[in-house]
């Protein structure tokens, strides 16, 4: 169980380019997008993650601004569950609200600037 992250990390380093290439060609398609052609509030997350794996933070931010906060929230939650920080629960709440605000704001921005299609 403990070895899984290590193996994943080794995979990522060892054949990183191959993994990214595979990911790029196997993105899950959002049913909302395939049905309607309109972006949903979660669209762009996978593209943004792939861009982040490539090391392109700015492109990742442009695809989906909430990726970094969400990732930070995930990592912090795992650390908190493991080490039990003093104000961890409060910080998790704060980060969660922060991520939510960013998601909603970016979607409203998208609607306003006609980037939905």
């Amino acid at each position: 169980m403990k070895g899984i992250p290590v193996v994943f990390f080794l995979l990522l380093i060892g054949e990183g380019s191959g993994l990214i290439h595979w990911l790029e060609n196997h993105l899950l398609s959002c049913p909302f997008k395939t049905w309607t052609g309109i972006d949903c509030p979660g669209c762009g997350l996978q593209r943004s993650l792939v861009a982040l794996l490539k090391g392109d933070v700015w492109m990742s931010f442009k695809f989906y601004p909430a990726t970094l906060p969400i990732l930070a929230l995930f990592i912090f939650t795992i650390l908190h569950l493991k080490f039990d920080f003093k104000n961890g629960a409060f910080l998790i709440k704060l980060m969660y609200i922060f991520a939510t605000v960013i998601i909603v704001t970016s979607y409203i921005y998208k609607i306003y600037h006609h980037q939905l299609f």
């Binding site: 959002c30 049913p31 909302f32 049905w35 309607t36 052609g37 309109i38 949903c40 509030p41 979660g42 669209c43 997350l45 969400i70 929230l73 995930f74 939650t77 908190h80 569950l81 039990d84 961890g88 629960a89 409060f90 998790i92 709440k93 969660y96 609200i97 991520a99 939510t100 998601i103 909603v104 939905l116 299609f117």
Partner: protein
């Protein structure tokens, strides 16, 4: 100073230990302890017959984590990430499951606080907040989808060109 010595401290030693003893007796309000100041000075407990420490709860001070706290936290956080998948249905399901799991635990904790750790209760509350926010967001998306489908019909929803046209008319 002299009044305190007369009133509460039976053994009269003229050094700072005296004031410490006076404090202790104020804390415990049990002058019997003062007769043995070396043995039980650190042990200011109201009733010496109780083998359990006052914060420890039942089983010799062992406190358990709430059983569903971690699951609630994880589900609550996942509910925001999946709020947009499949028209928001997954987010709604995860949020509802987290809320149901947390409700029982909250009742448990409030019924007997001494058995469970405070940190796990904090985790549970954070999970609840996350689940509520995720539930609201994904419920909004589900409602929007339904309203969309009712007003314009599924034929419009599945046709990209028709939607573009409709949105342009709306603006």
């Amino acid at each position: 100073m002299s009044e305190e010595q007369e009133g509460q401290v039976p053994n009269s030693q003229p050094n700072p230990e005296n004031s410490q003893n006076a404090q202790q007796s104020q804390n415990t309000q049990n002058p019997q302890w003062q007769q043995n100041p070396q043995g039980y000075q650190h042990f200011n407990q109201p009733n010496p017959g109780n083998p359990f420490p006052p914060y420890g709860g039942g089983f010799g001070g062992m406190q358990m984590a709430l059983p569903n706290a971690t699951i609630t936290l994880v589900l609550g956080i996942l509910s925001i990430v999946t709020c947009c998948c499949f028209y928001g249905i997954i987010g709604v399901v995860l949020g509802v499951v987290a809320l149901i799991l947390s409700r029982k635990d909250k009742e448990n904790y409030l019924a007997n606080m001494n058995y469970y750790t405070v940190s796990s209760y904090k985790n549970l509350n954070a999970g609840r907040v996350c689940a509520i926010i995720g539930l609201i967001l994904s419920a909004i998306i589900v409602l929007l989808c339904i309203v969309f489908a009712i007003f314009f019909g599924f034929s419009t929803l599945t046709d990209e060109e028709a939607i573009k046209q409709m949105l342009q008319e709306l603006q």
